[in-house]
């Protein structure tokens, strides 16, 4: 089944201990779409500028991604510069030029109306709400956000949380939303605000999914998936979005959405994140095969499963 992602397409300048790259294709929607494309049909709603060429679009098209929802606006594409020192879990933002992204008003092509799954990448919660209301026939909505919206637009964020089924954020964001430093307690508070499930991304330590009582089946235990201990992390940029793409893409590929599907999806999220960090930008996730993905899924299983 198809999935629609609404979010940013960007050009990134990235510096890590492994090197530097300029003007590489990035953005949450890009990383998400490429990762999800190994599992299901992916559609994108985003905005780009004059500097987004046919060659850039072909990166997505080669993976079968439907780019009809990528709007071209006069001006430049969103540009971000970031650098990492020893702590690869945290980027220092060198610059953010929103450019055409500043006035982004998501326009959903008519042909996308039948999309079954929706992912609201990290954009203004007011826009996330508009998209979600327009796509009111979807089976499941996933969403992301960031510290900026948590601090600046808490009310709109709260409204957004009531409209997503699965929220995917990191430890710090969960604690910020909940005003609570104990992670499991913070998770319960966030679930009480709307989502039926909360995926907390722990970076190199993997991810945990917490469920609202009764959501997606019985049981009250959370579930944890690992991240791969990787010796050569070239560039962590986009790992969280690739995680979301693997997670949501796998869910969309299944007939049913239940806890077992969500657990396996958590593993596939980790798998896609682990590929992303091996190369700069989208390099590694442009050219995978489903066989490589499933082989790594097996490694993740061996990493955590007792006989």
């Amino acid at each position: 089944m198809s999935i629609l992602v609404v979010g940013s397409v960007a050009f990134d300048n990235i510096t890590t201990p492994s090197g530097s790259v300029q003007n590489v294709l990035g953005g949450a929607a890009t990383h998400f779409a490429l990762a999800a494309s190994y599992f299901t049909t992916v559609r994108v709603v985003a905005v780009v500028g004059d500097d987004f060429t046919a060659e850039h679009e072909n990166v997505l098209k080669k993976r079968g991604i439907d780019t009809r929802g990528i709007e071209r606006a006069p001006g430049k594409t969103f540009r971000w510069g970031g650098s990492y020192t020893d702590n690869l879990n945290e980027a220092k933002t060198d610059f953010t030029d929103l450019n055409v992204f500043e006035q982004f008003q998501p326009k959903i092509p008519k042909e996308y109306a039948d999309t079954e799954f929706l992912f609201l990448a990290n954009i203004h919660p007011a826009l996330q709400i508009t998209v979600r209301q327009e796509m009111n026939g979807v089976r499941l909505t996933g969403g992301d956000t960031m510290n900026f919206w948590i601090n600046r637009t808490p009310q709109q964020l709260a409204d957004m949380l009531r409209l997503v089924n699965v929220l995917l954020i990191n430890d710090t964001e969960v604690k910020m939303i909940a005003h609570e430093t104990n992670l499991p307690r913070a998770a319960q508070k966030v679930l009480a605000m709307g989502p039926q499930a909360l995926v907390i991304k722990h970076g190199e330590y993997g991810a945990t999914i917490f469920f609202r009582q009764g959501a997606f089946g019985i049981g009250h235990h959370p579930f944890r998936a690992p991240a791969l201990p990787i010796e050569e992390v070239q560039d962590p940029t986009g790992a969280g979005d690739s995680f979301a793409g693997g997670f949501m893409g796998y869910i969309a590929s299944q007939g049913e959405v239940n806890r077992e599907v969500l657990k396996r999806a958590l593993f596939y999220g980790g798998v896609m994140g682990s590929f992303t960090v091996e190369r700069f930008g989208t390099d590694r996730v442009q050219s995978l095969s489903r066989e490589e993905i499933d082989a790594r899924f097996q490694i993740f299983r061996e990493l955590t499963h007792l006989e």
Copy 2:
């Protein structure tokens, strides 16, 4: 089979967001011994002062722990005061009164000579070396250390590392020993210094075991065990030592030491750590049953295992 732990017995003053306690029984050897006692016969070598009463000793004896190796010296027992604020992963040390522990010279009773498993808790590496050399008939030695020895006595620490089979330390300590910020690379460097296996404790994110190529069986993948997401962490003091006690105790209880045993041991380590933090000091781990432990082991399995 029996296990000997050599380390500190202490009285602790602890303050956490959940409350305060004074003069509670603590110390690495105490937490280790109590946790290991649910799996196997435990022997202790430590030193205490005049303030260590029969009542204190009975906490250990009730769990069947052999206390003949606990030496009584004139003076006071080691005392430690620590407090935790919101970050329960890190204690602020309020005071350290080494007292009789300052002149600790481990004396191993003749009756302990046939002990099969050894755990060198966090003491001066020179003492760890002496004990290990005296106990040269053991099947497997586990060891711990801390930043103080890593910085102050690197050469003696390096000598110690050649004598332990499994080193159990945390992320920061691994990176300090290896002078390397990437965790898997740091792990390989530490393994090259001696141990056949390295257990890295990640606090609330669980633990990872890395193996030296060919050690304890075939394969080159690490293995990860979770920690339980706990809503009421009353006191994290001793969690790492309880982890080591569960890990080593389970290994000692098995006939054979192979990778599958070490993986299950990693789960039992997490299980014992998760009980410890639920109450102050050793309260929770004094009064468990093997049934409670195995029930929690099942929860850990459900937390991580796909169908």
